[in-house]
Symmetry: C2
Subunit: 294 residues, 2 copies
Amino acid sequence: MRFNLEQLRAFSLSVEKGSFSAAARAMGKAQSAVSTSISNLELDLGLMLFDRSRREPTLTAAGEALLPQAQALLQQANLLAGRADAMAAGEEGRLSLAVEESLIGDALEDLLVRFEQAFPQLELELLNPARMDIIKLVQQGRADLGVLVSPFEVDEGYHLKPLKQMAMITVVGSQHPLAGQLLPSFDELYNHRQLLLTSRAGKVLPDDQLSNRVWKVESQYALIELAKRGLGWAWVPQHMAEPWLADGSLQMLHFESGGDLIHMPVDLIISPKYKEGNAGQWLYRELSELAFLV
Amino acid sequence: MRFNLEQLRAFSLSVEKGSFSAAARAMGKAQSAVSTSISNLELDLGLMLFDRSRREPTLTAAGEALLPQAQALLQQANLLAGRADAMAAGEEGRLSLAVEESLIGDALEDLLVRFEQAFPQLELELLNPARMDIIKLVQQGRADLGVLVSPFEVDEGYHLKPLKQMAMITVVGSQHPLAGQLLPSFDELYNHRQLLLTSRAGKVLPDDQLSNRVWKVESQYALIELAKRGLGWAWVPQHMAEPWLADGSLQMLHFESGGDLIHMPVDLIISPKYKEGNAGQWLYRELSELAFLV
DNA sequence: CCAACCTATACATAAAACAGATAGATACTA
DNA sequence: TAGTATCTATCTGTTTTATGTATAGGTTGG
């Protein structure tokens, strides 16, 4: 490496300010420092960057060609410095967040937009695995944080912070035999096919399965599509079902015994390997206020 | 600017080689130099980059996050150095080449691919103005080099190097009254509409206009399209007309007096402001061998 | 021709980078 | 467990580099 960043800064500033002297003033240095700095840069590069035949130096063709690259380099150096500052101030360098599919939607996307504004330097990885897979990823440390509906006992290998609760409803497609009925109890569901979220490995959450006939689907969206086509009943988040309830392609089931709305706790789970930083704290605060949680 | 490029190089190499000592060996420096260099970098950034609790230093989370940025910075510095070297060795920093539309095609694109391989650092600007506009751009220095069919006397304001010649033919659409005829002489064209290339300012090359009825078109491709629809006759480069002659949508006109093929000189014109470099020489050499020129 | 600006350079000095040496820690091996 | 090799941090003196001051000389515009 022949040149150094101070030389490039002198180069860039000299062009910007119009003279070596002005650049020196801007840098808080003596004019001679800038002058020799640029001379050395020219020697290092083997090129004349400025034409000094007139009072104020003007760029040569070579200088013209290299200036944008030098500026890009300086900008990247500033980014690096900024990122280091942010991290020194307690921001994580990168953050891997695994969010269950059923929580994704406009509200979460808005949140992420605000997240980007608050932590522009941070490298975010957003994963959308199935519910059971989130737990595994966080336990392994592959993901720092996970957000998921959690109808289970606290397990080993992660910390947990409760968020609010998500309203779940029971739905069927409009042509399904149960559509439009008022059911005496949940038991009625027993003999109809249930559409069930599954992990990639085929695991299902303990309390999820009610029916003796199930189809397992990995994606919440695919699950809703199957329900719309009348292939079974399913428990789905209310906010995800709403557009289809509105256009009639899905119908909500009601029960005499009550329990039309089931509130499932949503939790933030935290990898033991994750060291909390500002971004994580911000996320916890904001996730606690997610619009569709009650 | 707090850190410097040597420190980043030490950082990157230490990760790559696995130890400060190995990095020092690779850099041809003493181990103490690398050790203090990295210590200073850590102080500058306000972050620990390495965990030194074991024999060989391992990256901290912060180091892990910043390494890619540091490497990107170094790579960009190398690009800058490489470009400077190339320019010191006589390569232009950037080159603006204006090529007449009728010369564009597979042969020229192949040439540009080879150009990119020969001069990967170089910043190329490729303009495709109409014929008359090329001359203006080169005269103004807006383009360094121009390539164009040049049926004109040498003008002021540029240098000229002749290339080979391009075969021009006279064509009409298949439904045109002249289609398929053997014409006694060019005079027969006089009373049919001519489709003529024009510059953006409406200028036409002196000898181009033969007919007393003309439509002027700015693009060679548009011109051929109009000819295909029988709207007039046109002089076009043989290599551009060939696909349409083959499928019958254009017909070539033949003359008893001969002159079915007119060979127009193609020239490279050079801006007075342009200082020839390796890339320009290469282009002149290769353009002289362009496949469709004879 | 002068005032106001610019650059390059000489020179002295302060700051930084560096190699060499050394001490202490860690890992591997016998 | 002792021995060897390799590692890092740090001290020390030296060399190199960066910088400010001072100065000489050039360009521009009134």
